[in-house]
């Protein structure tokens, strides 16, 4: 019988712990498929960050390092500078990448650190139970913004791809989502490009994936996807913010 659907080799058999409707699972799969397609599992070292995805060190079937909160870009820098011929990626959430780890993120990007960054933006802290993230939307209710995010008090959300696209060391900054088959395919292409950029020594490549958190948003999986489409995508437009390979071709 022909196999029409299989688990990527770059994923282990450990069952995911993610909540129903959470898009981490889809993104993990896309990363693993790309690793398989490029045949790099034996050369890849992943960096897991603090947050819901911390256990990704159990899921990816490559060598993995777990970084302190926010420090994944620094840990990845240490790995890449020691293993220039290996493929190093970080898998970070919004709190990790854009709050506690913003300095590490900006400086890894501006150094053109030749790494691949998978950035899950679900506008909330998942692991700790639904606090405001740097990317929580204006008015969004979270555990620490119970009356909605008041920008006069809590400030404004950060648009990470826009910000990083201003830096010379950034090779790729692209925002995607995984709410539909079409968008999943676009996301996979972006992730593949982010890995290929590293193999071709182009510098820092980040793929921001707008993601859902049904549990902490207080929505069903289906409602969560709609909330993402109606609220997140308008604030965080999908698209390519910087792509040095496209610039060269143009």
């Amino acid at each position: 019988m022909a196999v029409v659907f299989d688990k990527p080799k770059a994923l282990t058999d450990v069952p995911f712990h993610y909540c129903p409707g959470c898009t981490h699972g889809i993104v993990h799969r896309l990363v693993a498929e790309v690793i398989d397609e490029l045949g790099i599992a034996g050369d890849t070292v992943g960096v897991a960050s603090v947050g819901c995805s911390v256990f990704s060190y159990n899921y990816f079937d490559c060598d993995m390092v777990q970084a302190p909160h926010g420090r994944a870009p620094a840990v990845a820098t240490g790995l890449k500078r020691s293993l220039p011929d290996n493929v190093i990626f970080t898998y970070q959430g919004d709190g990790d990448l854009a709050a506690i780890g913003m300095a590490e993120t900006v400086h890894a990007a501006t150094r053109g650190e030749n790494i691949t960054v998978i950035f899950i933006n679900n506008a909330i802290y998942g692991m700790t139970g639904g606090q405001m993230a740097p990317t929580s939307l204006p008015g969004q209710v979270t555990q620490t913004t119970p009356y909605g995010r008041d920008t006069s008090v809590a400030g404004h959300p950060i648009r990470v791809c826009e910000l990083l696209s201003t830096l010379s060391g950034t090779a790729l900054a692209q925002r995607v989502t995984v709410d539909s088959v079409k968008n999943v395919n676009i996301a996979k292409k972006a992730i593949k490009k982010a890995f290929e950029n590293q193999i071709n020594k182009r510098g820092y490549s980040i793929v921001e994936v707008l993601s859902t958190c049904p549990t902490n948003w207080g929505l069903s999986p289906e409602e969560a996807l709609k909330w993402l489409q109606n609220n997140m995508i308008p604030y965080y437009p999908l698209g390519v913010y910087k792509d040095v390979t496209a610039e060269k071709e143009a």
């Binding site: 060598d63 390092v65 970084a67």
Partner: protein
Amino acid sequence: MGEKVLMKGNEALAEAAIQAGCRHYFGYPITPQTEIAAYMSKRMPKVGGCFLQAESEVAAINMVLGASSAGVRAMTSSSSPGISLKSEGVSYIAGSDLPALIINVQRGGPGLGGIQPSQSDYWQATKALGHGDFQLFVLAPSTIQEMVDFVSLGYEVGEKYRIPTMILSDGMLGQMMEPVEFPEAKETAQAEKTWATNGHKNKRKKNIINSLYIEPQVLEDLVKERFERYEKIKATEQRAEEYLVDDADIVVVAFGASARVSRNAVNMAREAGIKAGLIRPITLWPFPENTIKKAVSHTKDFLCVEMNMGQMVDDVRLCVEGKSEVSFFGRTGGMIPTPEEVFNEIKKLSEKEAK
């Protein structure tokens, strides 16, 4: 051994690290350790190594975490306030069973403190450089030669037991010059690091460098296993220098820069007919309990001399167990005790004993 050269402590230490096979240095500027980074930035490109000025101390220690995970000999250096910033990363490195070399060229504290030499990070280095149950292997050089020799020792012990090493220096040792010899260049055989995350090449199971253990029983077992290693280190790696201790009534206990001053004071005391001696702890953790305990039988008074308000004196009291008197003399804030001051303290103890 090669020719004797004059070098600043900071520069000698940096060169020793390169000679010991360190090719990855990550740091951030702070006085009085800047010469280490400056030297590394000059030398690393010439030996095919990596010097990287990080965006913060926090980033620098995590770059060390990454490089150590890859299995290379990595290093960072800083001075007191910067070491506080590194404490998070140090805890993760210890919790991940990674070797790494961390240099603290101490200055006065707390807070921004001052920039003159100090030993006020003894507690931090030996008791709590970060959260959780863990220890560092802590070496306290008191000469520039030891700044050199302790680098390879620190790497070797750290790799053998998979424990981070700290060289606890200070502004005086960092800035001063003294003749120093580098050991003959030799390819130091490094133990194979089968745990390193350097790509499994589809030939072995994946490696994970991790300090997260959600199950309490798993974490307890792991910490207990680590503490068994600590017991082995305590049993085999204690180091101390003894100077005129055998017949001493009064034993000064001092490490690093204050041990240099104390040595002069002990000489002055001997000239004045006082039987004084010096124990100089070289490993601050493990603390050289055996050396102190051995001296208890004939020592009436122990005098701890430190450039702080009295930190190591706690450990000396624990070893002495109330069997002899233990007193303390220190200067802090960047002040360096003079031999005369220490001699006066010895004299006071001697006069008290005579009564």
